[in-house]
Amino acid sequence: MLVKVKVSALRDTHWHEYALRFGLGGLATVCTGLVAEAFGPATGGLFLAFPAIFCASATLIEKHERHRKKKAGLPGKRRGQQAAALDAIGAAIGSFGLLAFAAVMWTLPGRIGPLPAFIAAGLFWILASVCLWWGWRHVRRSSV
């Protein structure tokens, strides 16, 4: 299967790691509002794509992978870094989806209304992200 759902992976994450993400996410949203308030929406808007929780996510992915390998008696440092690199490549591809989301929210709300625009933007985000990821994986497999 191309994409899998592994619910058991949730057990690897401790409650304080969820709390950290919640706190960072909330803080980033408040800070974005403060920037927009102080410097205007054109500057505040930049921070809607700020990698606010990327540091925490990548570090957690690296840590979990390292622990998993350590449990199996293998040195996991390199594997942890590779897992973080794969997560980053996914985020790089996903940023094009984010661009599509922003483009829809820039052009459509005035024409079709805010709620339909949010729905369209969400669909464009997921479609663009998944299609580009699939294309990247296809090219990567053919070149190996």
Partner: protein, 117 residues
Amino acid sequence: MAMTEYVIRFLAGGIVVSLFSVVGDVLRPKSFAGLFGAAPSIALVTLALTICAKGLDDATMEARSMMFGSVALCFYSFGVCHLTGQRRVAALLATAMMLPLWLGCAFALKRLLSGGA
């Protein structure tokens, strides 16, 4: 902004970011899960609140600038991928080292493409 708005922003932002993180946690392969690292979590909350509080004009202006931020995020993520995958730098250090790149790129694009407005 009123104190209540800060609290709403914090709670809504925290919940949406956490939800996208959980989705990313359970998906495999890791490169696919990474797509959710660039999910519009902060954008969803901020744009919704901006529309409610200030109207569509401010929200569309924020969305336009978000496009520059997204391009910067792409460079940032490729940079982190290079540092962790090729240069063997730890994830925390790599993500911190690349933040000036995101800031420089986002503000440069805004200045170039919207005349600094």
